[in-house]
Amino acid sequence: MSDDIVREFLVESNENLDLLDRELVQLEKDPGNRATLASVFRTIHSIKGTCGFLGFTKLESVAHVGESLLSKLRDGELLLGPEITTALLEMVDAIRQMLRSIEAIGNEGERNDEPLIRSLTSLHLGEKPRAVKPRTTASSPEARGPSGAPQGNTESIGEILVKQGSVTAKEVESAIILQEEGDPRHLGEILVEQGSVKPRQVLEALQSQQSIRGAASESSIRVEVGLLDKLMNLVGELVLARNQVLQFSNATEDERIAAPSQRLNLITTELQEAVMKTRMQPIGNIWSKFPRTVRDVAAACGKQIRIDTEGKETELDKTIIEAIKDPLTHIVRNSADHGIEAPDKRIKAGKPAEGKLSLRAYHEGGQVIIEISDDGAGLDPEKLRRKAVEKGLLTPEHAAKMAEREVANLIFLPGFSTAEKVTNVSGRGVGMDVVKTNIEKIGGTVDVKSVFGAGTAVKMKIPLTLAIVPGLVVVSAGQRFVIPQVSLLELVRIKRDQVRAGIEMVHGAPVYRLRGRLLPLAYLDKELQLSKVFEDADVESNAVNMVVLQAENRQFGLIVDEIKDTEEIVVKPLGRRLKGLKTFAGAAIMGDGKVALILDVLGLAQKSGVVSKQEDRTWAESETESQEKSSNKRTFLLFAGPDDARMALPLDALARLEEFPASQVEKSGAQWVIQYRERILPLIRLKLVLEERRKRRRHGETPEMPSEAQLQVLVCSHEQQTFGVIVEKILDIVEDRAEVKSPATRAGILYAAVIGNRVTELIDLPAILRAAELTSARETEQAEVHS
């Protein structure tokens, strides 16, 4: 017996066992499905057949009783119930263990399968489990059951062998007669021993029997993962070499090198894509194991759980598939174990008795999104808060202040478990933090959202592959940096004469208005504290180059000196000693053989403050996440009004944000004005409009001007009138649907809405204009313009 055959048997059997897991769970739900039953039977039968043939008797004896039980099911003498399913799944597990042992030490190992065989046999005999006389030999005829040989809707081994021309029909017939007379051996064995066929032929016949199920097997071959890894590394090196060649050929005018290097470029790209593809696996490969996992959990806790999947064909790199396997399993188990409630609890809560667990995978922006959601109990925010305080992870004040969404993410803290009782499935307080670490290790993110009483959803964002990523090369202060293409949205070049008008300041922070949206800006040289090599003199400084980047669903512009080409880079870690530098994600060896640093866009954004680490970030993120609904969203400028009232103005009503020194404010009639862009801008102090309108009107006096040194002014336009509204403080710019509305409680306010999870008043510009009685100011302005 050659090792090759054994190895092949192992690989195949393992696949078959996975299939069995799925089919048995499926069958339990639909016990009458004859096609599935037949397929289960075939699978067990072929495992039994092959291992008997290879001399694994212990394995065979277990498979054999299973087969006997299955044949009864198939013949309709027994109906599949949970008890039988459990026994059969135990059998699958036992077989799996034996296969592992065969792989490791060459035999099934020391084991006692008697209890399992007994329970299978008693089920088969239609009895309640009781002690049965231990059976010593593997294949006593009595245990074979009424139908030992394959029958029914599959082609039998005999038929296949005859078709192959290995044996004559007569030889098979005589072998079958022998079997019927009580010969315990398999058809194949008999034939081999009679010298009619070679073992190899029987094996082939067994395989072709299986291939009825898997018709695709002919067009695919098995390849060692190690070989693919090597191929991947080589392609990585090839890409680097290609880059060097390209750089050289770009630098020379020589036609002779230009054409071949161009071809080399194309071929390398294609080769790289193809090699990447060989490593891609559908996520369904992991998911297919979940029905069994969930079934076991459900059976252990007396729950009913249905599992829905969507997008199981979504492909990921093999190393990533491996890396997310355990975290995913953990989350699924968690959902099944303490997400979904027991049936009686569910019915009480007005939900169907059967819980739903759904898995969804899809591509989005060069990443794969995996969502695991359940309609279970959800996370109890109060319990989480309490737990966090109890464990000393948070102070009571901090916990009380936390947004609900942040509270849900507490489950990712180490040592955090809210399970009231520790089950054997989950709840030991290890897990979700490990899930998070493992996902982050491969460059992904994980996030949880939960509605108490309605369910929990875990969302993972996973990169497609790890090895080679496209990156944009930029230069700042003479040094090269790489920006991963994934975070790149667009490139903007602001001409010198537009720089002053284009880049504005909001509360001391530079912003750029990109298609009506204010984009916060960061200067790479400033953030990295690079010293300028040259000042202004160069042609390059005639324009500003901006790279628009995405970090955690927030966008920002990064100003660099120069934008070069995109290059394929192999990401290499910076090493432990430089790990503390959050602004760099790694380093890469460029086409010229030198090292360039890869920017960590999120780290950079946080450092420069364009993405804040504070509370406000979480909701901004959560709102922008549901992009499918973004059409209903509006962008608002958030600011603090009088007495720190949180107020907002739709961004489209806003022309500019300005900061004026109070000393520049002048008086024109009864109106405060300021000279602004060769015009006179009337100023309205929001505080006075909202609060002291009545008083002021009575006295007909000019309102007092604030004494602060700097005034924050929203320059607005309404019906061709431009005016400035003085506010206390500018807070932020957010996108929101502002759905929850309530009527205004005071004049000058349109309505109150929930923006960024907090009640915010929307100011009513026309009302404010009327209140401020700007008519006179308008006349002044016009007079000025006309003169």
Partner: protein
């Protein structure tokens, strides 16, 4: 005869230093260094050592020696550390010496500052003292260092 040990030696501001030969991966000519912004000044940059990215630490800065005068092109002594290879930038490479335990002394009391904590002791050679460098400490970068910058 007591056991002997081999050391790769080099000079820093005319002082002789030695690193246990087994810990030295290789000694190489200067390579192009890519600066790492926001990192500590001792980190001179990253180099491409045959596809491997290696950090270069200026040993003069690490041991608080005066800055290397212009004209001296630093050589790289690439050493193995627990996690990765690190290149130490030194002034000049010396010989490989073999010494016995009997010449070893703990760091002299007169030695102060960073040098003292980065050496294991000295070997009294015929002409000069050889400072035995603790590679882990010589390659250490304070954590706070890398943070935020």
């Amino acid at each position: 005869m007591a056991q002997t040990q081999q050391f790769c030696t080099f000079y820093l501001d005319k002082n002789l230093f030695g690193i246990e030969l087994l810990k030295v991966q290789e000694v190489i000519q200067p390579l192009d260094l890519t600066e790492v912004p926001l990192a500590r000044p001792v980190v001179r940059g990253l180099m491409n050592l045959r596809g491997q990215i290696v950090m270069g630490i200026d040993l003069r800065r690490q041991l608080e020696f005066p800055e290397r005068p212009p004209g001296i092109v630093p050589m790289n002594v690439v050493v193995h550390t627990a996690q990765e290879s690190v290149s130490l930038l030194v002034d000049e490479i010396g010989d490989v010496v073999e010494v016995g335990e009997e010449t070893f002394e703990p760091p002299p009391e007169t030695l102060q500052g960073k040098v003292r904590s980065a050496i294991l002791g000295v070997h009294k050679l015929d002409k000069q003292l050889m400072h035995v460098l603790d590679t882990e400490r010589a390659c250490a970068i304070e954590d706070r260092a890398a943070d935020n910058g």
